[in-house]
């Protein structure tokens, strides 16, 4: 295979990210006293370049490495989600609290490598590439989860994440093996052709393989019953890492899940729909009911992340172009509002104490009205109240499901939205309607985090009021998934 047939420009976003990561590691090895701002700048530069390459590949629909990697708009759209999520999470790391323990060079390099994994997961049209992407992502995240080396909670998080993550990788690999065994190929295109000629029902091993893949990716999307790790890991990991994990890695897993399922199931198969529907309903209920009881906002957001995985699954179950479009739209929106919520935590955490308990939010509106307002926007958006982006996202998902005839499922989702309202409003109540009891000192404003907050707020509002352009864009390419 010659170099030109590899079609390297297609993987330019990945190459840029990897090179930037290596440069950062190299720089930190040679000059030990480099300011953290250099690393941040380098990383953002890398992300920006990657963003630019992604934009230039838009609408090109090319393949590389003999069809193992594709650059269709679907993958490129996910790239945008990953890159923005990574950039915002990096800005969060500049907070006072994080700077107390973060190893800057390692942090930025690992974030970039994790992004590489995500991009590969979305772009992989071969199960092996998908697995490689997942591993690159996971291993980087295992280390990132434990990057607060001095805190036992962070170490616990890293260890838990690693153990369960290893299991999930094994599941995925096992599933891939079954699929390979039946079809004789790892290429999704080939598998898809194979299945359209031989119906799935006659291949129980293929079904088993599919289920194992769903389980493996289910860990990463935090779907019931594979969600157990999320609260502990979200709580223990440093806030910027959590933000990245909650948004980027969830989106990456959904990207892979959608692609694999679309190649495994040509038409809508009812057995699958039933299994996924039950899982979606349980995911929503478990997430939302558990979130009510949380006193720690990071844990609450972890359970809310479980619940949102359930909502997104509904779009997947709709099994239509509209459903896919809904999933893409929602994951983007979810990224903005969740990173925003974590940004508020980073913004308010001082060197000595992390601002994470629900009680810390008491009376915040009187101390920091703008930040409280921003947090309220994120909470309303997560709860899905208009005119925020969260509402349009949910509307999009639910409408696809109603169109596909899954109205009862949507009723469940709607009931869950009401439940979720209770704990999201709990934060708003604390901020606006309760008096401050003990005052955690709030650190001076870090402009970079304020920037991240502003971006997230603007996106959460703008995508709610004027979603049209984005929707049109998504609907154009959501039609041709493979």
């Amino acid at each position: 295979m010659s170099l030109s047939s590899l079609n390297l420009p297609v993987v330019a976003p990945v190459i840029t990210l990897s090179l930037t990561g290596f440069v950062i590691v190299g720089v930190s090895l040679i000059w030990s006293k480099v300011s953290r701002h250099v690393f941040l700048l380098l990383s953002l530069l890398g992300l920006g370049l990657s963003f630019w390459f992604t934009t230039s590949l838009w609408n090109s629909n090319t393949i590389a490495f003999g069809g193992m990697v594709v650059a269709d708009n679907y993958a490129l759209f996910f790239n945008f989600i990953f890159l923005i999520s990574a950039a915002l999470s990096m800005l969060l790391s500049q907070g006072e609290h994080e700077q107390g323990h973060l190893l800057n060079a390692e942090y930025f390099a690992l974030m970039l490598f994790a992004t590489v994994g995500m991009v590969l997961m979305a772009a992989g049209s071969n199960l092996l590439v998908l697995f490689l992407g997942l591993e690159t992502l996971s291993i980087s995240l295992y280390v990132l989860a434990g990057i607060k080396r001095t805190e036992p909670k962070s170490l616990e998080a890293a260890f838990k994440y690693f153990l369960l993550g290893a299991f999930s990788s094994a599941f995925l690999l096992y599933g891939i093996a079954f699929i390979y065994g039946v079809t004789g190929s790892l290429s999704l295109r080939y598998i898809s052709n194979f299945i359209s000629s031989a119906p799935l029902a006659s291949q129980p091993l293929l079904l088993l393989g599919g289920l194992l893949v769903v389980a493996g990716l289910g860990f990463k999307v935090v779907m019931f019953p594979f969600h157990m790790w999320a609260p502990d890991v979200y709580e223990g990991a440093a806030t910027p890492v959590t933000a990245f994990m909650a948004t980027g890695s969830k989106a990456a897993a959904f990207a892979a899940l959608l692609r694999v399922l679309h190649s495994l199931f040509d038409g809508a198969s009812t057995d699958w729909m039933v299994i996924l529907s039950v899982l979606a309903v349980l995911t929503m209920f478990v997430g939302n009911l558990a979130a009510i009881a949380q006193a720690n906002v990071k844990r609450m957001l972890a359970y809310s992340s479980v619940a949102h995985a359930g909502y997104v699954l509904i779009g997947l179950i709709a099994w239509s172009d509209a459903g896919t479009a809904g999933v893409l739209f929602y994951l983007l929106v979810y990224m903005f509002m969740t990173v925003g919520a974590f940004a508020v935590l980073s913004f308010l955490s001082s060197r000595q104490s992390e601002f994470v308990m629900l009680d810390d939010f008491r009376g915040l509106a009187f101390r920091k009205p703008a930040v409280a307002l921003a947090m309220a926007v994120f909470m309303f958006s997560l709860a899905g109240l208009p005119p925020t982006a969260g509402f349009v996202g949910k509307f999009y998902l639910f409408s696809a499901a109603v169109k596909a005839g899954h109205t009862p499922l949507v009723v469940f989702a709607v009931v869950n939205s009401v439940i979720s309202l209770y704990y999201y409003l709990g934060v708003v109540v604390m901020m606006f309607m309760r008096k401050t009891l003990r005052t955690l000192s709030i650190p001076p404003t870090v402009p970079l985090i304020a920037c991240a907050l502003l971006v997230a707020v603007l996106a959460s509002c703008a995508l709610g009021l004027f979603p049209s352009y984005l929707m049109d864009t998504i609907e154009h390419f959501a039609v041709h998934l493979l």
Binding site: K403, V429, F432, M471
Partner: protein, 511 residues
């Protein structure tokens, strides 16, 4: 003139002013900007009445493409039903703003901003002709109201605010599912995926679906009104809300529910409506009597007024589901009346509360001598609430009872009981508070109404009398709309019967 987007202007103006408020620093300035903004909206909305032609079609229509991907448009327009709801809103908002002049002590800026955003939301609900847009406004209303109750409310304000928002959202989210269902049903049938309310009305939805859709929409509206047995959030919200919040809640927010029945349930699901008439009338009548009985035993004036709302809105429901011109016209005019008289009652209770920091009936007595001006206003409003001929309440209740009598005699008889009971609880309260000996010494020091307070009540009382003497200035504008609504229901029902008859015949053929 016709091309001027007058509806957008009056809807968005409060929002603009709330933006302006962000930059106003001193307290007096904030109050003034809020007042000027809401007054400006009111004066801009006045021409709507005069330019509105008494025909049934939608007027002042505006249409802008919004989200073409899902067929949602920014589409506004008003007919005889929404016209008066909009006027009521723009009329009450400046009064509410002015009434909060002294009673809101903390964070007046946030309060005014919430109030103005609330006005935008409410006006949007009444003017939206696109179901998606309607839903967005419908929910946007909740957020400022939630803050108004939760931040500026009484002791149990947080409980009340959360109860309010959870109850209403539960209903509205089910409505969202129903909206989606209609959207796709209409789209599947015609190939035109749209949220246009007028177009969605033109299809026949099979009876089986209609029943479910009616229930989903109906539950949402029933919670909002609130109808018995979904009313439990109302007393909490009313008692805890600040005076201004109560006035706007009772005055216009509750009307969003009855408005919803008229705008959506009747034309969309005529068959299901007929099916549910007995149930709705029963709930309406139970609400009338239950609300009145509970009001009778309330020691707290504000709670009494809150429960009287349940009773009065029961009348509106009975009127709407009488399904004839008299009933619906009565219902509509009663919606306006209730907004005026209950709004005024909440203001009056608020004025007493500001003076004495208590609302318990037992703490008062003999105020009439001490506060003569106040007594006059209170008297007129009380009588209006009871439905004394010559005042507005009479017109509404009379028409409703007439309509109910024409369609369902038994219900009319029971509903009429509500009029008597209203006289009992309202007059008892009035008597205990105003007459008798002035025993409590604290009451001897109370001051009569200030000029500001008179200017709050005077316009309301004037309208109460005008509507009572010459209701035709409202009725004439709404009549064509009401008639065409009833006609639409009839035609839909006949068509439906026809469709089903044809289906039945073809079914027989198959056999």
């Amino acid at each position: 003139m016709m091309n001027f987007p007058v509806l957008t202007t009056i809807i968005m103006l409060p929002l603009v002013f709330s933006g302006v408020l962000l930059f106003v620093k001193n307290e007096q300035g904030i109050k003034l900007v809020g007042l000027i903004g809401s007054l400006l909206v009111f004066f801009l909305s006045l021409p709507l009445y005069f330019l509105f032609e008494p025909v049934s079609s939608m007027q002042f229509v505006e249409h802008t493409i919004w989200i073409p991907a899902i067929g949602a448009n920014y589409q506004l327009g008003i007919d005889g039903i929404s016209l008066f709801m909009i006027l009521l809103t723009t009329f009450l908002t400046p009064i509410v703003v002015l009434s909060s002049w002294n009673s809101v002590s903390r964070n007046i800026k946030g309060y005014m901003i919430s109030m103005l955003i609330l006005e935008t939301g409410i006006l949007g609900v009444f003017a939206a002709l696109d179901l998606f847009l309607f839903y967005v406004f419908w929910e946007v209303v909740l957020i400022p109201m939630y803050f108004i109750i939760g931040i500026w409310g009484g002791e149990r304000r947080i409980y009340a605010a959360i109860k309010f928002i959870i109850y209403t959202i539960f209903g509205s989210l089910l409505m969202l599912v129903a909206i989606l269902f209609i959207y796709f049903y209409h789209g599947g049938l015609t190939g035109n995926y749209t949220f246009d309310i007028l177009r969605l009305q033109q299809i026949y939805i099979p009876l089986g679906y209609q029943t479910w859709l009616f229930l989903a929409f109906g539950l949402s509206f029933a919670i909002k009104i609130p109808m018995f047995p979904f009313h439990t959030w109302l007393p909490d919200a009313h008692v805890e809300a600040p005076t201004g919040g109560s006035v706007i809640l009772a005055g216009v927010l509750l009307k969003m529910g009855t408005y919803g029945f008229l705008r959506f349930c009747l034309p969309f699901f005529p068959h299901a409506v007929v099916q549910f008439v007995p149930l709705m009338l029963t709930l309406g009548v139970v609400g009338i009597i239950y609300g009145a009985l509970v009001a009778m035993v309330q020691p707290d004036m504000k709670k009494l007024v809150a429960y009287s709302s349940v009773s009065h809105l029961g009348f509106v429901v009975v009127g709407i589901f009488a399904l004839n011109t008299e009933g619906i016209q009565g219902g509509l005019i009663q919606m306006v009346n209730h907004g005026l008289s209950t709004g005024a009652l909440f203001l009056i209770v608020g004025m007493i509360y500001e003076r004495r920091q208590t609302r318990l009936i037992a703490d008062f007595g003999g105020l009439a001598k001490q506060l003569p001006v106040f007594t006059v206003f209170f008297m007129i409003v009380t009588l209006s609430s009871i439905g004394l001929p010559g005042l507005n309440g009479f017109v509404g209740e009379y028409l409703i009872l007439l309509g109910a009598f024409l369609s369902q005699k038994t219900f009319a008889v029971f509903a009429a009981l509500g009029v008597i009971l209203a006289a009992v609880y309202m007059l008892l309260m009035f008597q205990r508070v105003m007459f008798g000996k002035l025993e409590n010494k604290e009451n001897a020091r109370l001051k009569d109404l200030s000029a500001r307070e008179i200017s709050l009540l005077l316009p309301i009382v004037a309208l109460i009398i005008v509507i009572g003497v010459y209701p035709n200035f409202i009725l004439s504008k709404m009549e064509p709309t009401v008639n065409s609504l009833i006609e639409k229901v009839q035609i839909q029902r006949e068509n439906m019967a026809l469709v089903e008859a044809v289906a039945g015949v073809s079914h027989l053929d198959e056999r």
